[in-house]
Symmetry: C2
Subunit: 214 residues, 2 copies
DNA sequence: ACCTGAACACCGTTCAAGT
DNA sequence: ACCTGAACACCGTTCAAGT
């Protein structure tokens, strides 16, 4: 987070601008991200050093900075990747198995990350995103897409009379998302990251929350 | 987070052991914590430097380390203080106004911290607690006390037939806590920290979740 | 074009020396 | 007993020099 004299300028040329071969660039970014994920998982975002990431990726510090502008830039790329993966699976489950199993699948996808030890990393990403809008903005775009899928699936479930039709689908999607994130973070804090137990907690909540009103 | 040769020993004498006047010690800790809160609020836990905290507290680095073992130790003390404050208010509200207003009061107490810009700090505390059990352990003790209050208030509300009697009070308290934390963090991520809107979202959720079953 | 790694400007923490 | 602040062992990032 320390920086040289150039920081704070608005139109710095990004390193990516001077890259020629996009295939090599993609390969290097992949290589650096995999190394960073391994290091962050072992030691956390702030504890892992760039030297460690360079060693793990088998690349020099100077080379790394051709492909990522900063340590925070690496975490942003990892977070983006983390998010965009499970949307298709959710959509298929929502159509084939109903809304509750689909929501539980999305929740399990998230809880699994805590089970493999990424809990602190996820909290770090929240902290960085809350502090720095440059990190939050791309994550919000991905988030918005997932929320839209939730909303559509909830509306379809209402049309099928699977859940309460008086519920506002947008509000419900937001609250379901918040509950998944809250449950995951909280259980990690309490040192119980068993994903089955977390899904059971979420399912009990979702069934109550979405059920038909008297 | 870097350290000298002595780290890793199990029975290092804590700085506090060599302190004589407990009143001076308490004053110094207060002075350092207030300075740290101001610095963390401005720049975040990892961005704020010990030099800044020392300057804000008007104390030298060496003096600071007589009263706190590390930067992480300061955050732990702040987090403990953050938590233990609103339990009494919750209990009184639960008896006088019913369970829903009491839960909303507890939620508002939490959401207010995001509104004054402590969101990233709270996420930092989550991350540090998930990563380091030495930080998590004292926080879990405080957390457990608050959860117990929730459970007792929920049971009393069930006895009054205010909410669904088939609900397991322990499970419900855990899920309500997770929802409060999730809503707070998520709204900060989405850049909407208006506490009224957050409380409204929580209230809509809590009323549905706790209501009598058909 | 792409890479290396020493160098730079920091950081958290310690400890000899003061009062 | 309590404090100071230079010194220590790092850190993230840059940039002259190589291929």
């Amino acid at each position: 987070m320390q920086r040289g004299p150039a920081s704070g300028l608005f139109f710095e040329a990004l390193p990516v601008a001077r890259l020629a071969d996009p295939l090599l660039a993609e390969r290097r970014r992949r290589q650096i991200m995999d190394a960073a994920i391994a290091c962050f998982r072992r030691r956390g975002f702030h504890q892992a050093t760039m030297q460690e990431i360079c060693a793990e990726a088998d690349i020099s510090a100077g080379a790394l900075y051709r492909y990522f502008a900063s340590k925070a830039d690496i975490i942003a790329a990892i977070a983006e990747e983390h998010r965009g993966e499970s949307d298709d699976a959710f959509l298929r489950a929502a159509e084939k198995e109903g809304i509750i199993p689909a929501l539980c699948l999305a929740a399990r996808n998230f809880f699994d990350k805590f089970a493999i030890g990424d809990g602190a990393l996820i909290a770090d990403i929240f902290a960085e995103a809350i502090r720095d809008d440059a990190i939050a903005a791309p994550l919000r775009a991905i988030d918005a897409r997932s929320v839209t899928l939730f909303v559509q699936a909830l509306r379809a479930a209402q049309a099928r009379r699977e859940i309460d039709v008086t519920l506002n689908a947008e509000d419900a999607a937001e609250t379901l998302f918040a509950a998944i994130e809250g449950i995951g973070l909280r259980r990690a804090f309490l040192r119980d990251t068993n994903p089955d137990a977390a899904v059971a907690q979420f399912r009990a909540f979702a069934e109550r929350y979405l059920s038909h009103r008297p």
